[in-house]
Structure formats: C-alpha cells, structure tokens
C-alpha cells in the first residue's frame, strides 16, 4: 500500500480490535492523521480517545474535538461492533438491544454527529468524503445462533445504502459504502468459536474452527490487514464513483 492518504483526517471506531487497529495502521502508513477510539482508549492513532459509540453526548464531544483540531473529517470508519452468539430462545431482550445499540444505533449517531465535518471535507476533497460502515458476510446471509448479529449487520448494509443515496441527492459529496468481511483472525472470531463450544454446537474449538474454515473456499481466514486494505481503497480517491456499494472481502464465503 502506502501513499495516497497524505493530509487525510480519519476517524476509526473500535480501534482496539483486530480490523480497527489494522485500519488505523494502514491509514497512518498512507499518510493520514487518525483519531482512534474504543471503549478503552487505544494507543495506535494520532489521537486516541475512549468512546462508547452508543452514547450520543459522547459523539457530540468527539465532533467538537475534531472540529477544533482539524475543522473537517475526510474518512469515517464505523468499525466498532460486537457479536452475540445465542439461540433465539435464549436471547434475552437486553442482550438483543445491546447488539442493536452497538452495531446499529452507532451508525445513526455517528453519521449525525460527524455530518457537518464530513460536509466540510466534501466541499474540497477529490472523490468526496468517505464513510465506511463495517457490516459482515452475516449482513448478506443468515447464520445459526447469530440471529441478533446478522439482523444488526443486515441493518448496517441498508442504512449504508440509504445514507449513500441521501447524501448524493443532497449533493454533500460524501460517499457511503459497507464492507463485508468473512472470517478474520481477530479476537471477536475467537470469541465466536468459544461461544459455539459453550453452546454445545461443536464439541471443541478445533471442530468449531474446522466448520468455519470449510465455509471459506480460499482455504483460510482473512487477516485484519486484508480488510484494512479494502477499507483504504474505499477511503481513497480510487473509489470516487463508488457509493451505496458492498465491498465483500470473504475468501469466496458468499460466492457459494
């Protein structure tokens, strides 16, 4: 990679996790300045802050911080997310709401709070400002024991398309796209494998892992860097005619 992002101001949420951190590192390597947030302040960004993405007041404060230091936001990567693994019959409403809060409410709060800063970028940035929302292959097809997660990621997919069209119609020069990773070597995927074992879906981690492996025709899980490079493409001017699209980075998971 490298290059092409000089002077870009980007915000990455969930930057303490695998894909988030790799995205921050890729943006920095390309020359961007990056605001990195997570529940616990990460350490990988130009500016690192603690943020609960479900907290509207926190979003307003973050917008003020970015406004005062940079006056605009070129790229917004809504990456923070959680994955609930549960049967539907055992999925209590509080857990469901938590899943929707982190994965879906955050999309609205983020776009609302950052819109003035993104519009400012859109006035001059070639290719426009860029919003990248992390969905999943679970936003394209269903999965057992992940109804809440897949519901939330399906919502991210269509929120992104609606926002893309709305911002285009309003001539904001802000592109919006979703990214759909397959299985990626992250702590979240480790937790999902553990949960399969805990639920008794698989007798042990190796069996659970083999079942997920088999869903990836390419024969392996992806690395966080391989998602980050896709996100970087969507951040860059190279994707200037892309809005409302899905970037599926899944080793062939959804091709069959």
């Amino acid at each position: 990679m490298g290059g092409g992002m000089d002077g870009t101001v980007a915000l990455v949420t969930g930057a303490g996790g695998g894909i988030g951190r790799a995205t921050v590192e890729a943006l920095l390597a390309g020359g961007a300045e990056v605001i990195a947030t997570d529940l616990k302040a990460p350490s990988c960004g130009t500016l690192n802050l603690a943020q609960d993405v479900t907290d509207e007041a926190g979003w307003a404060q973050l917008a003020t911080v970015i406004q005062e230091r940079w006056g605009r936001l070129d790229c917004l990567v809504n990456n923070a997310g959680i994955a609930t693994v549960s049967t539907i019959e055992d999925n209590d409403l509080a857990s469901w709401r938590r899943q929707m809060g982190v994965n879906v409410d955050s999309m609205l709060l983020s776009c609302k709070a950052m819109l003035p800063l993104l519009r400012e970028s859109g006035k001059s940035r070639p290719g426009g400002a860029s919003v990248i929302n992390l969905s999943s292959v679970g936003g394209l097809g269903g999965a057992p024991f992940m109804a809440a997660y897949c519901t939330s990621k399906g919502a991210v997919r269509l929120f992104s398309k609606s926002a893309a069209i709305e911002f285009a119609v309003l001539k904001y020069n802000i592109r919006v796209n979703s990214v759909h990773p397959g299985g990626i070597e992250t702590a979240m995927m480790d937790d999902i494998i553990d949960a399969y074992v805990r639920l008794g879906v698989a007798p042990d981690r190796a069996t659970a892992r083999a079942a997920v492996d088999a869903q990836h025709p390419i024969g392996r899980w992806g690395k966080p860097e391989e998602v980050a490079s896709g996100i970087l493409y969507l951040c860059s001017t190279a994707s200037s005619f892309m809005t409302g699209s899905e970037l599926v980075i899944d080793g062939g998971f959804t091709a069959h």
């Binding site: 990679m1 490298g2 290059g3 092409g4 398309k161 893309a164 069209i165 285009a168 119609v169 001539k171 990773p181 397959g182 025709p217 390419i218 024969g219 992806g222 690395k223 391989e226 998602v227 490079s229 896709g230 970087l232 493409y233 001017t237 190279a238 994707s239 200037s240 005619f241 892309m242 809005t243 409302g244 699209s245 899905e246 970037l247 599926v248 980075i249 899944d250 080793g251 062939g252 959804t254 091709a255 069959h256």
Partner: protein, 249 residues
C-alpha cells in the same frame, strides 16, 4: 501508487474506453501490459512496457495464439482483465438469433475463453505474489439489474457474474493461486456509449445515478487496479459495484 511492479497484465478490448483507461492505470502502477483488441493498434502512444496482439475474444484459436504471444514476450501472466464487450439491445420479439449470438459470443464466450486459456500461465505466475494472480471480469450493473429491451446485454452480463463466482470457487478449491472477481460499472463516459446514446438516453443515465453524473473510465480502472493488486488478497468470487449508487436504490 506502485503496486504492480514486475507484473504482466492482459487487457482485452484494451484500446478504447474502460480497457484503455485500465491499460494506462496498470502501467502507472508498474505493470507491463499486453493490449488485446479487435482493432489495429496504430500509433497510440501507450509506451514501452506494452505489446499488442490482435484478438477476437470469441475465437478459440486466436486465444491460443494470444497466450503463446504473452508467454513468448513476457514469460508470465499475473493479471487478466476480460473487458472486451459489445452492446445488445432491442425488443425481444424482434431480435434476430444471430444478433443474440453475437452479443453472447463476445461478452460471455470471450470471458470463458479468456479464463480457459490464461489459467495455466496465471497459476504459475500467481505463486510469486501474496495475493496470487487476479482475473477481473467486467460485468455491469446490467448483470445485477435489468432494463427493458436490453435482453441480450442483461443476459450476457448476468452470466459473467456467475461464471466469475463458479470459477473463483473452482480455483480456490483446487488451491490454484488465482483470485477471480467481477466488476460492475454503472454508466461510463466511454466512446462507445457516448456515440450510441442520444441526448435522452444520456439524461436518463445521469438522472438515474444518485451521484448525478456518469463515471469516467479512469474511475473504473482504479477499481480494477485494486482487484489486481495484493490489496484485494482475500477477495475472490466478489462483485465490485462501481455505479455511483445506481443499484443501491
């Protein structure tokens, strides 16, 4: 960006429109390019890292000769952009079978033959890269959604979408280091489209695109270059839709 140094690409339909812009972009990123086209190359100023082969993509014998020419000139093939395509429209009740076949021959047979004849050489070359070799088949948003009286074109581009996925699964299953993806441009300001569209048609393309404009060929070429590079190393069997929001509606 220089992501493709040392790599060799074949671009069919490489003299005009999206193909031409792709050749230029791949050259910028450090690749050498075999330009294939039905038209004669002429003095087009593509530069020293290119070669030209005349190719009718629907003719299997010409494919064998083209791949031999690539092997002889460059010794490898890392990137295949199956871009050559023609239109195919009209009321379904009046389309002559030979016109139907003409569209399918170029747009679908051409992609099939490209993969069939390039795969062996690409399997060798792909082992040198983290992300393997890359086949990029140019479909269209017309491979995802339809327009009235675009039957042959819709059918050909829809077929390219699933031929791409099937090939991706086959090569992944066989552990061949070749990724296969399709690109789905919206309406692009290519010479072909601009010459064959009246003012009403152009207004329809623009108004129907949420971004409110048509694409430049270079914007499609940039997407193709992304898929060609190791930046897309975990992408196979995917559709890259570059349409200004047309299909998001």
């Amino acid at each position: 960006m220089i992501r493709l140094a040392g790599r060799v690409a074949l671009v069919t339909g490489g003299l005009r429109g999206i193909g031409r812009a792709t050749v230029e972009r791949l050259l910028e990123e450090g690749a050498s390019v075999m330009v294939a086209d039905l038209d004669a190359a002429g003095d087009d100023g593509l530069g020293p890292n290119t070669a030209y082969v005349r190719l009718d993509v629907g003719d299997e014998d010409q494919w064998r000769a083209a791949v031999e020419a690539i092997r002889a000139r460059f010794g490898r093939l890392d990137i295949l952009v199956a871009n050559a395509g023609i239109g195919g429209t009209g009321p379904i009740r009046t389309i002559a079978l030979e016109d139907w076949h003409r569209t399918l021959r170029v747009n679908l047979d051409g992609v099939f033959l490209a993969t069939k004849h390039c795969a062996d050489l690409m399997a060798e070359s792909g082992r040198d890269h983290r992300g393997g070799a890359s086949i990029i088949n140019i479909s269209s948003i017309m491979g995802l959604v339809a327009l009235a009286q675009a039957g042959p074109y819709n059918a050909s581009k829809g077929a390219v979408r699933l031929l791409t996925k099937s090939t991706a699964l086959e090569f992944a299953g066989a552990k061949l280091p070749i990724r296969v993806n399709s690109v789905h441009p919206g309406f692009v300001e290519t010479p072909l489209l601009m010459e064959t569209s009246n003012a009403d048609a152009l207004a329809f393309y623009t108004a129907g695109t949420p971004m409110g404009r048509m694409a430049q060929p270079s914007e499609i070429a940039a997407a193709i270059a992304f898929l060609a590079s190791d930046d897309a190393s975990f992408m196979t069997g995917s559709e890259l839709v570059v349409d200004g929001g047309w299909t998001a509606q």
